[in-house]
């Protein structure tokens, strides 16, 4: 891009700002009082069983939730993978990309895949992502109120959760926030990572005569493995950080 183009662009931006300044000044500001945004909250942070609320709400928007103990993570993931492999073509192996920020969890999942009908895809091949059957991710956090997953590009390949037809997300109970309001009260990935997506259900459309169809561009299946925390202490520690 040459200097003239850049100058023209900056002049355009400056001119827009000037027009906006004049327009703002042309009308008196409305006499509206300060507002209390907490009215938007629906689920209280003091709720003792956020995991159950999260599981219920996530199911109600069409995601599948399987709860397990920490030491059963391996077998739970393997069972879900086998179930999907069986419903596809017989003896099919699922091409799987692992996009997990936590290095030790990522290694555990890669190990787990060796006992599944799956082949591991590279997690830095943007084009190859389109040939994957499954994307396995962890999450930055989850939201109980809406049953949502929050996944950023920090430490994870972008779109690994939306390109393959199956998304398997691992959520630890200690990662669950009560409400969307809480997400924006802490400084978080949404406003720092190159990209973050809040996911609330499988990809959906009702464009054709209002008939609900899942799996339009994103996954038709979102499998959530909700892992109980090993000890209450870990959860308390997380709560303190938040």
């Amino acid at each position: 891009m040459n200097d003239a183009t850049i100058r023209a662009r900056d002049a355009g931006v400056a001119a827009l700002l000037e027009r906006v300044r004049r327009a703002v000044a042309a009308q008196p500001a409305s006499a509206m009082n300060a507002v209390d945004l907490s009215i938007a909250r629906r689920t209280s942070a003091s709720n003792s069983d956020l995991a159950t609320i999260f599981a219920t709400r996530a199911s109600s928007v069409g995601m599948r939730v399987t709860r397990c103990a920490s030491d059963a993570l391996h077998t739970t993931v393997a069972a879900i993978m086998r179930a999907h492999a069986d419903t596809s073509t017989p003896n099919q192996t699922l091409r799987t990309v692992v996009a997990i920020r936590d290095a030790s969890l990522a290694q555990r999942m890669r190990d787990c895949l060796s006992s599944c009908p799956a082949t591991l895809a590279r997690d830095d091949d943007a084009d190859g992502l389109f040939d994957c059957d499954v994307g396995i991710t962890d999450v930055d956090c989850a939201i109980a109120d809406s049953g949502s997953l929050v996944i950023s590009t920090i430490g994870r390949m972008r779109n690994a959760w939306i390109t393959p037809p199956i998304h398997l997300a691992i959520v630890f109970e200690s990662q669950i926030l009560a409400d969307l309001v809480d997400l924006f009260e802490i400084r978080n990935e949404c406003t720092t990572a190159a990209s973050t997506t809040i996911i609330t259900g499988p990809s959906k459309t009702a464009d054709i005569e209002g008939v609900l169809v899942t799996g339009v561009h994103g996954p038709a299946y979102v499998e959530i493995v909700l892992v109980a925390d090993e000890s209450k202490h870990v959860a308390d520690a997380h709560a303190l950080i938040r």
Partner: protein, 503 residues
Amino acid sequence: MNELIAPTLPYDMMPRARAAIADVHLQQFVGRATHLKDEQRKSVFGADFGHDDYELLRSVAATTKQQALDQLDVLLEQFIERAQAHGSIVHAAVDAAQACAIALSIAAQHEAKYAVKATRCVKSKSMLTEEIGLVDALTRAGIETVETDLGEFILQIDNDAPSHIVTPMIHKDRAAAARSFVRVLGSRYTEDPEELTAIARAHMRGLYRHAHIGVSGANFLLAEEGTAVICTNEGNFDLSVGGPPVHIMFVGIEKLLRGARDLAPFLKLLARSGTGQPLTVYTSFVNGPRRAGESNGPKELHIVLVDAGRTGILGSSKRELLRCIRCGACLNACPVYRKVGGHSYGSVYSGPIGAVLTPELNRGAARAEGLANYPDLPRASSLCGACLEACPVKIDIPKFLLHARAELRTRTLSPASESRALRLWRWLAQRPMLFRLAIRASRLHARMLGQNDGRHAWISNAPGPAAGWTQSRDLGIASAQPFRAWFVQHAAERDAPPKEAAR
């Protein structure tokens, strides 16, 4: 641009409205779908927040957005600075032509940077890009641009235009989709929505993979963080932005919010007002292009801030209109939209909000063109107030419709017959005796024209200006007893002592 949303001006609404009312399929589809969505919205808000908190939440959102507009200059400057710090390239466009020209100049530089000419573009759904006619501009420049939202895609291959802000093909049935898929994609004929969606999915996969440019809009811009927020249900935004090396985002300047701390009420209101969902399936946050070490995502992220009539509204007494978050709730609630459908409004923005926004966005430099070009829109309303009740940011649409009607009168843009009728009315209303006589005469006249089954009286074929009404329904006749007489009688009853003691 498609004649349906960019008609010859001045735009005469009546032919399309008449055609829509006569179209049995359209009446069924649009009537049923809008009614259902409106009911869903009410029941979801009722269940999730309760009536009082829903009211409060709307007030909070209205105030928050109004305050953002009141300091839009500050927020805009802040956003630009932060977005540039994320590595985004920020542009500004005065009008539609300039916005399209910016896209073309970005595309023209593609070959020098990526050693391949830009010829393929994937586009995520955005009202603003419809407004500025971007697809046409790109296509004319040899860049094949595909709408990736399923509804918009079907409309595009059928050379049709969106008729609803949220559910663009609300006026079309599955058979129309099936026919166009056979014709354009060469797929076998099926009317099953699931199969049609699968065909579209397979088609789009190849496009996402090989596109040179991605295009989208944005639902919110966060000033404090320089973040763009995009809501979709299908996931087409994430795929449009993730694949191609260049992404261009077109955003109206009214989309600014102070920051992430203000966002939660809007995300909750937008999804529930539009479709009754707790949140849209995908709420995507974008902070610039891909970072060092990341293997996908756009290498260049352009944000084009578009004015196109918005500063005009911002500097006028109608600033409140810019609070609109494009949820479509007022369309679903509107009895007129339900009958005439979106295309009757002759604009990308249909329904009550379209009726006020379209003339305002198109006022032009002399601030006079808008209403002269769309004189029917302010009258395309029964002023019932359903739109205000449904609006998540409490835009007083009925008030602005009335203001527009007043402006039509003072600028004598109203039809002469309307002025004559109003003059006659004013003259009569100032002469009580004559007024009463005239009412009596018209009552008598109506009863002569009408039919009577003993309980009801009606006219099936009214003469003169009332003929339009009786073409599609009967006209009721005033009762035999005038209100004045009824009132005198009931006032006497009310003042008389009750016959029984009240329980």
